[in-house]
């Protein structure tokens, strides 16, 4: 159970409603408090305003916060300072304006809690929850991230009564590198072994392993499309600034190509997530 708050960020787009509904579903299922942050100034007769009013009538109290800071990101972070919410839900905005990183990307990089970007209306129940992990990496942060992602995906699939799939993409072959990196099939074998070992270690049994040649921005969306995934759980390093501009983050890049919801866990927040999950 998420005993903490779930915050829904509502922007002026039409998709905000889907995000809102998703938020309501989750709060309902998890029994957590729901709060709303308006990223614009809504008119009193805004459909969502009416929905909130309707829900409060039903007994679900939804606290509303208004946009106070200079930009939306500041709003969210200010909110976090005041009230450490456990999950941020927002609709996914695929328009990219200007040369700076879009708001969604900034949220993914800076929000100190998992972020759920909602794209679809459909229920997760009975669908497929995809956990994208990188079992071949040696970095400590990656290993933590893998664990967090898998745990989260496992919990969600359990709660939502959906199947859990694991997606692993290995790097394309590189001539002249170590032998296992030189050949596609060898890399696939290695990735598979590692993935199985990882999940066995966590005592999670996924329904399917999807192991394929990357880059991840290609493989993950490909699998998600083919499998009609309901939710993608993925980790991110949240690189910001120059690093973010040059290297970027895979999670951000696949946002455009996925048609399902995406739950992004940021590296370094594993403690929070563990605490979170222990509540369940």
């Amino acid at each position: 159970m998420f005993t903490k708050t779930v915050l829904i960020a509502l922007d002026a787009s039409a998709a905000a409603e889907i995000a809102f509904k998703r938020g309501v579903l989750i709060a309902d299922r998890m029994g957590s408090k729901l709060e709303v942050l308006w990223l614009f100034s809504p008119l009193p007769d805004h459909p969502l305003m009416r929905l909130i009013a309707a829900l409060s009538v039903d007994g679900m109290q939804i606290k509303q916060h208004y946009h106070e800071e200079k930009n939306f990101l500041q709003d969210v972070l200010a909110r976090w300072q005041k009230d450490h919410f456990a999950l941020l839900i927002k609709s996914c905005d695929t328009t990219h304006k200007g040369i700076l990183a879009p708001l969604d990307w900034q949220l993914l990089r800076q929000t100190p809690c998992p972020v759920l970007l909602v794209k679809r209306d459909s229920l997760w129940e009975g669908g497929q929850i995809m956990a994208a992990v990188d079992p071949l990496s040696r970095k400590k942060s990656c290993l933590q991230l893998n664990l967090s992602v898998l745990m989260m995906a496992a919990v969600i699939s359990q709660e939502a009564k959906a199947t859990l799939d694991v997606i692993v993409s290995y790097s394309p072959p590189m001539l002249g590198a170590e032998p296992e990196n030189q050949s596609s099939s060898l890399s696939a074998d290695k990735a598979s072994t590692a993935a199985h070992a990882l999940l066995k270690g966590m005592q999670i049994e996924p329904a399917t392993y999807h192991i394929g040649e990357g880059p991840p921005e290609y493989w993950i969306p490909k699998v998600a499309e083919e499998q009609h995934a309901a939710l993608m759980v993925i980790g991110t390093h949240g690189r910001d600034g120059i690093k973010g501009a040059l290297l970027g983050n895979t999670a951000e890049r696949i946002l455009d190509r996925l048609s399902c919801d995406v739950l992004v866990l940021r590296a370094g927040l594993s403690a929070n997530i563990d605490a979170l999950l222990q509540d369940i």
Binding site: A177, P179, S183
Partner: protein, 800 residues
């Protein structure tokens, strides 16, 4: 999952330490390149425009001093006394030839006078040292009962009449200029034009192209007619002709590029896959020339070929990249994905190959000749630029368009073919075939080593070897040698003394015995120095009596005999006495013999008061150059091979792999030397870098093939299977590149510039032989070196 003997259990610590940074760099570059395509493309366009603007401003920059080894003791000595040795450095000789009759006609003399005047005004000419029978510094002398008589050869009373011409004939005979300024057969006359290396007024370097064209227009074109032929010789003219020939060089480049274009299209079947790699390679050339201009370099006749080499290497790599993209696309990827995967795949071998090329060229800097060092810089800059254009820009551009459907279909068809023409070559990957191939290689090595013993250093022919024997320059030069007594091969020994001692009896007497010593050295035609002046004038002071033609022991008599000394026989402070030695030829063995003989004499006779120092004069410089080249050629090869081997070792982390890649290259180098010996091409400044360049170009093939081969081997394929798969992909690119470039370069044989023609032959040979070596010898060696390993258990196998 099959375990191959080629996979180890764990990568070694060194391997991961080396690979770590490489892989990291690849990840970063890949992401930036493929996600920020527009900004990156923009930067490339800006750079291309900027460097292109610089590139078109590049100018020919030939300098006499750049072609000689500046730290060689001979050249250091020359540079010390350079100002005092005017006329012995750079000069032009203009020959005015009477087609019919002799020079003693009114019209001829008129022409000669006008040409002399014309020469006087050409910028860059040292006017005070200008010499022809029409200049006042050329005089006749005679002894009479009253003493000496003398005067300028053209007397003030000359009026073109028959009597004047008779007088002129007498004066010429009395002046001793027959064989020097007037031909032995009296049918032509010379105007000697010494040149300044730097304009004394402006300090600017002599512009050979301008000088040469001025001489052509103002003298040859203006005065050559039905009665008179003009001939011009001299270093400056050679350089001028070479620079003019640059136009034809450019034409041959263009032809080679066109051929590459056509063949590449036929091979790949893709328009984009043809235009983009060639376009990127041309961009590389533009960048290279632009950067050189920024660094302050110009084009000299020897580095004229570097742009083409840059193009060739660029195409070689470009074809590899495009081919890999085509492979990826044939497996279903879209252009962006295919380009991205291909970039990652090719990254390590591409970078290694280019790094080897670049560092291999950089090692040419060990050679102490500036022209070659400039070449090293030009070539390394070119290779560095190729990294940017062909490893970065090319995949970027291809990610937009990919190869066409036709190309993909072609690739798929060839992959699926059951039997392939490449099948035949797999025999070399099997032990029996491998042994045959390696044995053949060893025999070839033996033949090559044997043949290369005849490899000569230095010029083997008369005249200017950079130009053809029947080029106008060489015909002119042959004319001078045939009709005049002074050869054009000059070796100058500098006898140095304390100031004001160069005319002392002791100095002159020692130099006299030195000149006598020289008469016994084969290869020396004659020598002349201040001593000869003193002897002749002493005899002249005694009514021309030959019995007085000796260096007087009386210093006053010596001083009287040297009251007027022509320029170039001593310097102003009388501390330098050049001994000008005329040689029969400038063959390397002649120069060696002469240098050794002079060194012997110097060792015995040098003292604080008088030293014999070598050397100046074109043959002196050539001796120094040959000396440097003799040691340099092996030093250079050692460095090039050393650097390339270490890089391959770092990349592939296996000594056996290095052997597989380097051995075919070494064989090519040896055979190339044998070819040079066979064709009579000597190792000189122009041809010295050729072999290093060949190594640089050839190592690419080996690295690409081995990388691809190893990919299949780690998957567990047997060597013949893996090799066949390699041939179908990388092998075909290598074969194509080798053949195409060879065809492009072989046309240079028809160039009017012999230097370019020689290069054409050698490069053709190296392109083809490197290609064959990589395709046949490399797998043969791999087979033999790994053969016994394959039989061992998997745990013991530790070879990639």
């Amino acid at each position: 999952m099959s375990k191959s003997p080629y996979t180890s259990g764990k990568p070694s610590g060194l391997a991961s330490a080396l690979l770590g940074p490489i892989k990291l760099s690849e990840q970063i570059i890949e992401r930036v390149l493929f996600y920020k395509r527009v900004p990156v493309l923009f930067i490339f366009i800006l750079l291309t425009l900027g460097l292109g603007f610089q590139a078109v401003q590049i100018r020919p920059d030939a300098s006499f001093v750049k072609m000689i080894p500046s730290s060689h003791p001979y050249v250091e000595n020359y540079l010390k006394y350079r100002n005092d040795l005017s006329g012995l450095g750079n000069s032009l000789r203009v020959v005015v030839e009477a087609k019919e009759g002799d020079i003693f006609t009114t019209t001829f003399q008129n022409t000669l006078k006008q040409v002399t005047d014309e020469a006087f005004f050409i910028p860059g000419v040292d006017r005070s040292a200008l010499k022809s029978i029409w200049t006042p510094n050329v005089r006749w002398t005679e002894v009479t009962e009253e003493g000496f008589e003398g005067g300028p050869v053209i007397s003030p009373e000359y009026d073109g009449s028959a009597a004047s011409l008779e007088q002129l004939r007498t004066n010429v005979l009395r002046s001793g200029q027959v064989g020097i300024l007037v031909a032995n057969d009296f049918k032509s006359a010379i105007i000697q034009m010494p040149l300044f290396d730097k304009d004394p007024a402006t300090g600017e370097k002599l512009n050979y192209q301008v000088l040469s064209s001025k001489v052509e227009t103002l003298i040859r074109e203006k005065y050559e007619n039905a009665d008179v032929r003009i001939r011009i010789t001299g270093f400056a003219k050679i350089v001028g002709d070479l620079i003019d020939g640059a136009k034809s060089v450019a034409l041959f480049f263009a032809m080679a590029i066109a051929i590459t274009l056509v063949l590449l299209y036929l091979y790949s079947g893709s328009v984009t896959g043809t235009l983009i790699p060639i376009g990127c390679s041309l961009v590389a050339v533009v960048w290279q020339m632009g950067l050189l201009k920024i660094f302050g370099y110009g084009l000299d006749p020897y580095s004229m070929l570097v742009p083409f080499l840059v193009f060739a290497i660029g195409v070689s790599h470009g074809v590899q990249v495009v081919n890999t993209i085509r492979l990826e696309q044939s497996e279903g990827a879209d252009p962006w994905l295919a380009a991205r995967r291909a970039f990652r795949a090719i990254y390590i071998p591409g970078l290694t190959a280019l790094l080897s090329d670049g560092l291999g060229f950089v090692t040419l800097m060990v050679i102490d000749i500036q022209v070659i060092q400039d070449l090293a810089v030009a070539a390394s800059v070119g290779v560095a630029v190729i990294v940017m254009t062909n490893l970065l820009l090319l995949p970027l551009l291809m990610s937009y368009v990919g190869v066409g459907k036709k190309a993909i279909a072609k690739m798929q068809a060839s992959q699926n073919k059951e039997s392939s023409p490449w099948q035949m070559l797999t025999v070399f990957a099997k032990p029996r075939g491998a042994i045959i191939a390696v044995s053949f290689a060893l025999v070839a090595l033996g033949v090559g080593l044997y043949g290369s013993q005849n490899l000569k250093i230095g010029d083997l022919d008369k005249g200017a070897p950079e130009l053809r024997a029947d080029s106008r320059y060489n015909l002119d030069n042959a004319f001078v040698t045939d009709h005049y007594s002074t050869s054009s091969d000059i070796f100058v020994v500098m006898a140095t003394t304390a100031p004001n001692q160069c005319t002392s009896y002791n100095t002159l007497s020692t130099v006299d015995s030195f000149q006598e010593y020289l008469t016994d050295v084969p290869g020396i035609q004659s020598s002349v120095s201040l001593v000869d002046v003193s002897k002749r004038v002493t005899a002249g002071l005694n009514e021309g009596n030959l019995k007085w033609r000796s260096v007087s022991r009386n210093q006053y008599v010596i001083n009287a005999s040297l009251a007027y000394v022509p320029s170039g026989f001593m310097n102003g402070s009388c501390s330098l006495l050049p001994v000008i030695i005329f040689l029969d030829d400038h063959k390397a063995e002649t120069l060696d013999r002469i240098s050794a003989a002079i060194a012997d004499f110097a060792a015995e006779h040098n003292s604080d008061a008088l030293k014999f120092e070598m050397a100046a004069g074109n043959s002196g410089f050539e001796a120094a150059t040959n000396d440097v080249i003799g040691t340099a050629q092996y030093e250079m090869l050692a460095w090039v091979y050393g650097v390339v081997s270490i890089l391959c070792l770092l990349t592939f982390r296996s000594v056996k792999t290095v052997i597989c890649i380097i051995a075919p290259l070494a064989l090519t180098s040896v055979l190339c030397q044998a070819l040079m010996a066979y064709l009579g091409i000597g190792v000189k400044v122009a041809t010295l870098p050729v072999i290093a360049l060949g190594v640089g170009i050839g190592v690419d093939y080996g690295i690409y093939i081995y990388s691809r081969l190893s990919t299949y081997l780690v998957q567990g394929k047997t060597l013949p299977e893996a090799y066949l798969a390699t041939l179908k992909t990388t092998g075909s690119s290598v074969a194509f590149t080798g053949l195409t470039l060879a065809i492009g370069v072989v046309l240079w044989v028809f160039s009017p510039i012999k230097f370019q023609a020689d290069m054409g032959i050698l490069l053709t040979f190296m392109f083809l032989w490197n290609m064959l070596g990589a395709l046949i010898l490399l797998p043969a060696l791999a087979c033999l070196l790994h053969n016994h390993k394959a039989a061992q258990t998997e745990e013991n196998a530790h070879v990639y």
